[in-house]
Amino acid sequence: MEWDRITLALNVLAIDPEGVKGLWLRARASAVRDRITTALAALPLPLVRLHPGVADDALYGGLDLSATLATGRPVQSRGLLSSPAALILTMAERVPPGLSARLAHALDTRRHCLIALDEAAEDGEGLPAALTDRLGLFVDLDGLAWSDTTDIFMNINTLSKARARLPSVTLPPDAASALTRAAAELGIRSLRAPLLAMAAARALAAHAGRDTVGDNDLQQAAELIYGHRALPLPDATAQDQPEPPPPDPGEDQAQDMEHQAQSIPEEMLVEAARAALPADLLAQLAAGRAARSAKGATGTGAERGGNRRGRPLPSRPGKLGSGARLDLVATLRAAAPWQPLRRRTAPSDAVLLVRASDIRIKRFVEASDRVLIFAVDASGSAAFARLAEAKGAVELLLAAAYARRDHVALVAFRGTGAEVILPPTRSLVQTKRRLAGLPGGGGTPLAAGMQAAMATATLARARGLTPTIALLTDGRGNIALDGSANRAQAEEDALRLARAIRATGMPAVVIDTANRPQPSLAAMARAMDAPYLALPRADARRLSGVLGAALGG
């Protein structure tokens, strides 16, 4: 983004923070970002910093327990949201859904504006959509060097004048219609966007000292508000594929067969795969994982200690704050024996003398959600014959995941690399759509696929989910991690990653989609310590038996 436009966006924000609702600032912490946050001082609202773990009593206020105990009378604390403020949300990429819903509600109903400092580094991280939809402005500092930027000078006088002018700024009659049409053409479906653009256009006109919004203002407003929203949908059409690397001599016959299979309608193959896959694969996977609980995974997702919800554990002494919940009964019980003694040493008319050492904190343990990561081979060798069947298999597993309230993620690999098609989600609608639009073709970068799946799994685990990897491939990895068509290197890379996945202790399953079971894939599954399942044109009963044996259930 050009520095001029960023400066303009900040001016718009400073003129009408309530109208444009806020700024989504996507950047790592840096000196350039500091230049922007410094400029926020020109906002006509007090700046309030929030972090993703901010608790309800900090947001909305409530009883200040420590002060109440100290003084012996109720002391209320003021909430951060109780008066209009410019909320600066740090580490916005880690905002939990609960907080983002609250902030969204605060933006909708009160006179706040929100500056979200999004430091997303990985795909799949990012500001929740409930907030990106509401915040008008977007600034991305990626690729902007310190030398490209200057100190932002916010002219306080100009801004005050613009603010005074704002209520009298009028829009030309057709402006609303023009902005709405533009949004529709850009494929922006949310109706908040045109409203934000209108607010921005008014602020721009006020900034330029005009009483009527001009064409130039509308244009700039559209740039500021629509620019980042008009992202093209993830395109599902096949792109130009590099030629797959020359096949092995032995593969010729298989290739011919694959070309013949191409003429079979996709629906038929999906149906075929439905019949061929045991319906209870997920259940069996869970059973298998339970058997491997020595590795830290359990059938219902790993447990993690929390202090807010879940099954209660005995309370223990602790300090109030940071979202901890007081176990009142235990606290009183701890305080009770000391009452006569304390009354003697420190005469007081309080009914109860509680010291900090009496405070007991509640502890809970909760089971985390599970996420099933599908790494699907969409290469040329798989695509023609088996991709549709693999899709069918994934759909079947999806249906089971839906019934079990698991999250799912989708990684596809083809050509020279792998791509996370869908970060962990519970939305079947989206998974199904992305899966249907998954194009095939190109080489088989098996190692890259495993790497992407592992990265997704690690990220999910960092978020408190319990990941399981399901790898669907025909096993003919022929693209190495560095993208070169070197079969030997490719196989070595894949084996290396298999060991790496084993080392993380994450449960996995390998589903072979080749026409004939691949011994090399079975070896790789062993290296991964994952059950291996061949999905050739076998009947369901036999597969179910194989699966049961593989999972030790």
């Binding site: 109208g19 859904p97 609250r102 249906a399 609608v429």
Partner: protein, 351 residues
Amino acid sequence: MPADTAPKIHALPSRAAPRQPFPFSAIVGQQAMKQAMVLTAIDPAIGGVLVFGDRGTGKSTAVRALAALLPEIDAVEGCPVNSARADQCPDWAQVTSTQIIRKPTPVVDLPLGVTEDRVVGALDIERALTRGEKAFEPGLLARANRGYLYIDEVNLLEDHIVDLLLDVAQSGENVVEREGLSIRHAARFVLVGSGNPEEGELRPQLLDRFGLSVEVTSPRDVDTRVEVILRRDAYETGYDAFMPDWQAADAALQARILAARAALPALKTPATVLHDCASLCIALGSDGLRGELTLLRAARAQAAFDGDATVGRAHLKAVAVMALSHRLRRDPLDEAGSGVRVVRMLDEVLP
């Protein structure tokens, strides 16, 4: 922060302080959503509305506007659970007044990430610490009794809260057994939920608790979209000029709802309609009998709203999709959506 860049506070242009929510009548399009809300206002026994759809389609706006349409209720002054008669007030509340007052039907927001304490109520820590008394601090469920409980982003609600809601919605009573308290109070409320299906699915058990469900999409037609934007902008920037007309429209709608409520008991339901209900539900294979009951109630409310004395097949058809689409045994991968199946069956069973 250096001293010379310390925040300087400048006044914003003055804007009116607390405002009424955007008027219900001013919502452009979204007929199904508005119809469902009106029906549930006529007969709360229908059991609430679920609105699923895209972002920025006016889901939350409609629910917040609904409050203005609901008639007032009679309740005992100071009763935390809005009891209708003094003898229904729970003992723990220690309500001394027997005065009956009129107050707006409660519409209570249940925010995401809310703690269990806030929902069911908990020991009143303030009173316990300062006065040494064991008292109960009522939660959101108490406030929502005899009213509406609104859950935005209902599909993101944490599972343990969902369990809790299901339990209370089933029994109509909130039982608190914790922290040495043993409290129960009536908690009969109408659930209103909204959410975006792209962010996650709703558990079937919770889905079943909603009487009606509607799907909303952003209007595709540019003129409609422009109209939406114009009205919203008029609300934001010309509040004082915008509200009177629409508030009058809302008042007229409320009067019509009240009239329909009054007409509901005298409404005739011919046996053929009952038969139609049953055969439609059988043909669709919906689980349980809640489908039939909701369908019938919704059709009766529709007939009362239309000012008809008898429920007919037309009323049934008008409400069938919203009453039944979420009760079908769901194929999670069926892209067409169950609404389409209901329409197809309607044409077959009730020509």
